[in-house]
Symmetry: C2
Subunit: 160 residues, 2 copies
């Protein structure tokens, strides 16, 4: 439990810090640029505010971050027709190329995880992790409706 605690803090406070080996990527971009790229790649397109909340950063920070990425030619921003206040952010072709490379680099980590677990374990882990993730994302103020994701998971054996 202690160890999990450590893991949790480390990753909770400084995401991506557990994962080294992104050296090749990190020479071209820093952590937040990588996170932004991956997020935009994953979401397709989003607004500045959405990007900010996804990244857990203040909007003003994301403004400059986005400016940098535009300068690098990796993303483009277009003003929304429906609401002139909002800007849509999406990857350019070059951004996509870089994003794909980043993804490829990272998928090594996912493969490692898959290799380490049996299919059953993986399934179980995913289910539980989703539950935990959901629990963590809830607004603290919100008075917790227990229902939704609470169906019970069957127990499986975990090999060491």
């Amino acid at each position: 439990m202690e160890q999990l605690f450590e893991l949790f803090f480390r990753n909770g406070l400084r995401p991506l810090s557990l994962l080294d080996g992104a050296a090749e990527l990190e020479s071209k971009m820093n952590r937040s640029e990588l996170a932004a790229l991956l997020t935009i790649r994953y979401r397709g397109r989003l607004t500045m505010s959405e990007l900010a909340t996804e990244l857990g950063a203040p909007l003003s920070t994301v403004t400059s971050l986005a400016q940098r990425l535009v300068r690098k030619g990796w993303i483009e921003r277009t003003r929304s027709d429906a609401d002139q206040r909002v800007y849509w952010v999406r990857l350019t072709d070059e951004g996509k190329a870089i994003g794909d490379r980043a993804y490829a680099t990272m998928s090594v980590w996912f493969e490692r995880v898959q290799a380490a677990l049996t299919p059953k374990e993986l399934e179980q882990f995913l289910a539980l992790a989703l539950k935990v993730g959901k629990a963590l994302q809830q607004d603290k103020g919100a008075k917790e409706k227990p229902a939704a994701g609470k169906e019970k998971l069957s127990r499986i054996r975990i090999d060491d």
Copy 2:
């Protein structure tokens, strides 16, 4: 694989706002100060380099971070007798008090996780999460020279 990826994005990139709701504490420190405080609290005392690797930050960053914390009166640094190059970092009484408060605030997160899972599920989740953590940390084919200047990340010890 898809699911793992999704999981990673939904929860892996965004730092948690751990002090969320404790406005009183939040106004006193930023994320890295919190992380440092908790790390030192957890470890008792450590050297500057150790702190840097624990935090996943470069040493030069930790130098200024530590200066700030000294100024705030939360930590103290003493030069090691055994090796004059190293400084031991530990919490002052005031630092301990604040650290305790921060920890208490944060334990809400654990309660949430516990509330979301049955005891059996929790047990399974812990076991699996540790396995995954271990898998992520294992060195891939160490083909790279440490690329001068890049700090190595500390491994979290995970027992079976």
